[in-house]
Amino acid sequence: MHIFIPQDLKELFEIKNKNPDALIIAGGTDLMAQFHNIKKFPENIISISHLKDLSFIKEQNSFIEIGALTTHNAITSSKIVNKYIPVLSYAASTIGAPAIRNMGTIGGNIANASPAADLPPPLLCLDASLILTSSTSSRELKLYEFYRGYKNTALKSDEIIFSIKIPIPSSEEYIDFYKIGTRKAQSIAKLSLAGLIKKSKKGIETVRLAAGSVAPIPLRLFEVEKHLAQKMLTRSTISNSCDILIRYLKPITDVRSTEEYRKTALKNLLIKFLTKVSSI
């Protein structure tokens, strides 16, 4: 096993271009555990957690930009995040436990592409984009376009996630995030649901919903959103949207929960969210 420790982004790309198979490791909270479980390290590892250029939280006009190596704890304690997108701060606070939150990063949480990751559902609702950078170029990609399949993403082998851009929600947009873990702390989501809704007198103006641990990827619930768009939040709208949700979702039974429970509880959480919104 060989470990590369680039001093800056330029060196990182040089190493990456020479060793396209090298695995990039950020906070290590997930990958190091995986290596331990198989009792083996990959041939080449590039460690980047020390790269300060990738650790920042910036407020820029209509959006917040968060560097990929910003830790969960930095997000939870950031004044900017707490002011403009408290739901993200809350979601970050539900990850692992204090030491894990001091190590794990937002970029790692996204790139690892676990369906149970805690930050993607709220980020999907917030319509976040990723800035993906290579040695020669940079592109912006919507987060919902990033996930291709189980542990499979649109990240090219010469690219890294540089930052996450999150549009600042307006005060009329109601946002919430629910996580059902295996226990109260240090837990991985059995299920999570994030929602964002803006209502007007005519009905729902904006709606974005996303769920974790119910599909091979963190999932935007486009079909349910389509059904809710422009509608008034009546009992029958809510109940129909639940039917659509269940029709489109194929959660699995695994080590943490069952298909049956995930369906039932997700439906219940959607009812809870929509009922809350309807009463505002």
Binding site: I25, T29, M32, S47, H50, A97, A99, M103, Q186
Partner: protein, 154 residues
Amino acid sequence: MIKRRWKINSKIQTVEFSEDSRLLDVLRERLDLIGTKEGCGEGECGACSVLIDNVLKLSCLILAATLPDNTEIMTIEGIENTTLGKKIQKAFIEANAVQCGFCTPGMIMATYYLLKNFKNPDNKTIRTALSGNLCRCTGYRMIFDAVRIASGRK
């Protein structure tokens, strides 16, 4: 082999280790700092908690090579030499927050990190601060008491 100069428990030391060494391995095998424990190796139990540049981290999830020269590392062995650390250790004994003692070093590191950052943590803050440190003996309540005693709140 990798060579690093770290400040470990306030003492500058040079250590050599292989590239695949975790910080936990280096502490235990190279420096005989055996107070840092391995309870799972996957970041779930907290028994390997240490402070790196004053931040609580898990030494089983860190490749030692990634820590540059001049990194400050504090382990349970360094805690006794600090006023706050000693106070916490005494409080753990007074409150009977120790049984088998295997989680204790990690638990004390988490408490030290908490009390460094919060002078008077409320019960909820204490519970959250210790939530990454599993204890199977005590049922936790007596550990909360220890933290309260150490923070000067009875």
